[in-house]
Amino acid sequence: MSQFLQFLFSGITVGATYALAALGFTLIYNASNVINFAQGEFIMLGGMLAFFFMQSGVPLPLAILLAIAIPAVVGMLLEKLAIEPARDADVVTLIIITIGASLVIRGLIQIWLGKGAHTYPAFSGSEPFLIGGATLLPQSLWVLGITALVVVALWYFFSRTLAGKAILATSCNPLAAQLVGINTQWVLLISFALSAALGAIGGVLLTPITLTSYDVGIMLGLKGFVAAVVGGLGSGLGAVVGGLLVGIIEAMAAGYISSAYKDAIPFVLILFILFFMPRGIFGAKITERV
């Protein structure tokens, strides 16, 4: 039982990061139909920048703020410089543009901060709590608490504010949204900034537990994508549930079956889900018009 709890705790912690990344994928997908393969790099940026600022003596809150704000700006630049000029291109073309962007981001960080793995102290000590025989790190509580806060804030933003509703309207029908006076270019820009910030938050929170280096973005990003698809691409609730589910299943399988195959598990899961539930768990049933 204590073992089960232990796996559950670590699964939920990592799963929360996947959920944030999945929300990022979902946001951009809804606003622009683009799958942003650079999403994982924002997670990496968050962790690496937080490390850099803390190492340079910037106080913790400011370091965190910068480590989230800078990736958001990078996200906007990505949209403005690379996605917008290629608006009408094929799905594959857009995927390759975002992959190019992720190579550039990763390459620059590698040149700037080196190839080593980095970490920084947890936000409030590392004395673990004992719950039912399992240990829970205080940092895990930070991860879960902030993720929950972000999810509530996003829900409020999208259902209660005009700006959020403008984004929703654009994702439903860009042309109609434009006709009622929504600045759809602005919506795209905000979506990229928000989703980059979400990824960065995940990276900042998770790094004290798992370390970070210039190349962690790929796997984290791909698993975030798996989480988004598991939940049903385009569904916010699906992204959160999908993220937690992928994290928990991964941790359980790593613990009970084989830790060597830990990284393969989300992908086995996604194949099964796509075979039997082609639109994910929360994906909308749609009839395609011809």
Binding site: G100, V104, L108, L271, L274
Partner: protein, 315 residues
């Protein structure tokens, strides 16, 4: 005359391949030419899937890995003849492709990308983890490829083997595209519903082209393994898949000449970039983005449109 016109591109390619050794100064350049040919053959097959049938695969390196490791493992651990091992690898890759293809091809766009990506990553992880057979992350040596007492060795011999294989693949792809099968593929890329209404069994065609491209990817994986004499799990990883898709898209989707150009350029690029010391990834990524932003249809179709030629088989 029309015979000549029809086969002119094939002749041009043959002449280029024949004359190339005259200007290749040393084995280093032979090596690059060989790698270009290997990539070109894989990309020809992948372009049939992506460009002509309109289906994305982000996991093709997985099939290459299967071929490469079949050629490494079966002769080393089980004493199989390399040729038998190569065929077995291709058969395994085709079988995996066929089994997963049916459920996968009910999916579209991003879901399809996700499923193929997942498949490729799983294959790569299995190769990395089964160290008892595969040597794990360090890789393993591959025995030489011999046939009836004759062993292919040295860059020059390999060059001719691949030149002939490339010519054959080029000819086969061209024929395939002009066949009823190719027309069906292009039809389902244009509009699946319209193709279905016209009596094209779309799932069967998609499965067929996926299996075919997996088969060729696996064969070329075997060839690569024998040529280099060593395999590492990198051959099956996500980056290799992306590299191949990039060759298809940069050269030009649904363009046979594009496949050749894309493979040649992107094989040469890393060599050219090695002078940038540490900045290779950044420069490579930047070039990718620029190409895709300014030539979203790829080099060959963009240039062809500019100079007023429309490639045959272009839709």
């Amino acid at each position: 005359m029309s015979m000549l016109r029809r086969h002119a591109p094939l002749l041009v390619l043959a002449v280029v391949l024949l004359l190339l050794p005259l200007v290749l100064p040393n084995n280093y350049y032979y090596d690059i030419a060989i790698r270009m040919a290997i990539n070109a053959i894989i990309v020809l097959g992948l372009n049939l899937l992506i460009g002509f049938a309109g289906q994305i695969s982000l996991g093709h390196a997985g099939f290459i890995g299967i071929g490469a490791y079949a050629s490494a493992i079966l002769p080393t651990h089980f004493g199989w003849h390399p040729i038998v091992a190569m065929v077995a690898g291709a058969a395994i890759a085709s079988a995996i492709a066929a089994i997963v293809a049916r459920p996968i091809f009910r999916l579209k766009g991003h879901y399809l990308a996700m499923a193929t990506l997942g498949l490729g990553i799983i294959i790569a992880i299995v190769i990395k983890n089964e160290a008892a057979y595969t040597g794990g992350p360090d890789g393993m040596p591959v025995p030489a490829l011999g046939l009836m007492g004759f062993e292919i060795s040295g860059e020059k011999q390999w060059y001719w083997v691949l030149a002939v294989t490339l010519l054959f693949s080029f000819w086969a792809s061209k024929n395939l595209i002009d066949s009823p099968f190719g027309r069906a593929l292009r039809a389902l890329h244009g509009s699946e519903v319209a193709a279905q209404v016209m009596g094209v069994d779309i799932v069967r065609y998609k499965v067929a082209i996926f299996v075919l491209s997996a088969f060729f990817a696996s064969l070329m994986g075997s060839i690569t393994a024998h040529y280099i004499g060593f395999v590492t799990p990198n051959i099956a990883d996500f980056f290799h898949s992306i590299e191949l898709v990039t060759m298809v898209v940069i050269g030009g989707m649904a363009s046979i000449y594009g496949s050749l150009i894309g493979a040649v350029l992107l094989t040469a690029l890393p060599q050219a970039l090695s002078t940038f010391e540490g900045w290779e990834t950044v420069v490579f990524g930047t070039i990718l983005m620029f190409c895709m932003i300014f030539m979203p249809k790829g080099l060959v179709p963009t240039l062809a449109a500019r100079f007023g030629h429309k490639e045959r088989g272009d839709s």
